[in-house]
Symmetry: C2
Subunit: 155 residues, 2 copies
DNA sequence: TATTGTTATACTCTATAACTATA
DNA sequence: TATAGTTATAGAGTATAACAATA
């Protein structure tokens, strides 16, 4: 096996990427794919995806929020949130509790197990961040985050 | 409807994102999601995804390449390439031709229709790129691409 | 009427393992 | 033995449309 998983072509032969390397979108996709792969390996012990990590963080930091607000914060549809929470609840990491003020909605909370897993995951995520950004110094990392946050009208 | 599709929380109420805004991975995901959304809207007439656009570009620029090399160039598994090409072939945009030198593999080519669609798509993609990067000047755009390309060990 | 959560449905992307044909 | 493509299978992410319960 001469080519590692998910790595770009290394076959020495000429390959023409045309306009792709000049596109922000293409570089974004590639960088995100690389980050996703490293994330998965780094958090193998926790078995969570970047999106699930974000959900756990937001629930812990905003305990009692409902699914609609969580979806708005993440920029995903309510119907998508259902499946995300289903998985997390199925693993005993998140609980749907009755919301005191509105019987249509749930108050989302982390279980003890969820809190413990998130604690472990945080440390692994920080190590993962260091690894993917090891080619950049702190100033460049800050610059990258600033530029990314200004993309897509988040302004 | 006070909240636009896939936009971050605008409910005025306090919301705690905790460590997320400081993570490269989180900002990468957010930026990519915004770019994907804009791409989809921009290329509605062509009905292709960013990944499919990349495949069409690479096939045109490297006519006759096989699925394995394409997968290597994109960093995706051979089995994933099959479904991707199936869809494109099903729409008559790509053709699997017998490879002259190796009867195990196909030589991928764009159909006339595929070439025409790619021609239209290129213009739309460039407009899309301008739109998502409208908050950045040329120097910042170049800087962003440079920083992104140095993430994930692509070094 | 509007909102929350849900279900049904659908599409894309992704991978692993095992298989066939060919090298 | 190794490689190219395929299939079966699985999981995650995403959305739209329609529905029940509640506001």
């Amino acid at each position: 096996m001469s080519i590692a998983k998910n790595s770009p072509d290394q076959s020495g032969e000429d390959f023409d990427y045309d306009l792709l390397p000049g596109l922000i979108g293409y570089n974004l996709r590639k960088a995100q794919a690389a980050a996703f792969q490293d994330f998965s390996e780094s958090l193998k012990g926790c078995d969570i995806t970047p999106g699930q990590f974000g959900v756990l963080v937001l629930i812990e930091a905003n305990s009692g929020l409902n699914q609609t607000r969580l979806g708005n914060a993440l920029g995903i549809d309510r119907s998508t949130v259902v499946a995300v929470i289903d998985r997390l609840e199925g693993r005993g990491l998140v609980a749907r509790e009755p919301a005191p003020s509105d019987r249509r909605s749930y108050a989302l909370r982390l279980s003890e197990q969820g809190r413990a897993l998130l604690h472990r995951a945080r440390a692994l995520v920080l190590a993962h961040e260091e690894r993917i950004a090891k080619g950049l110094n702190s100033k460049e990392q800050a610059q990258l985050i600033k530029l990314l946050s200004r993309l897509g009208g988040a302004s």
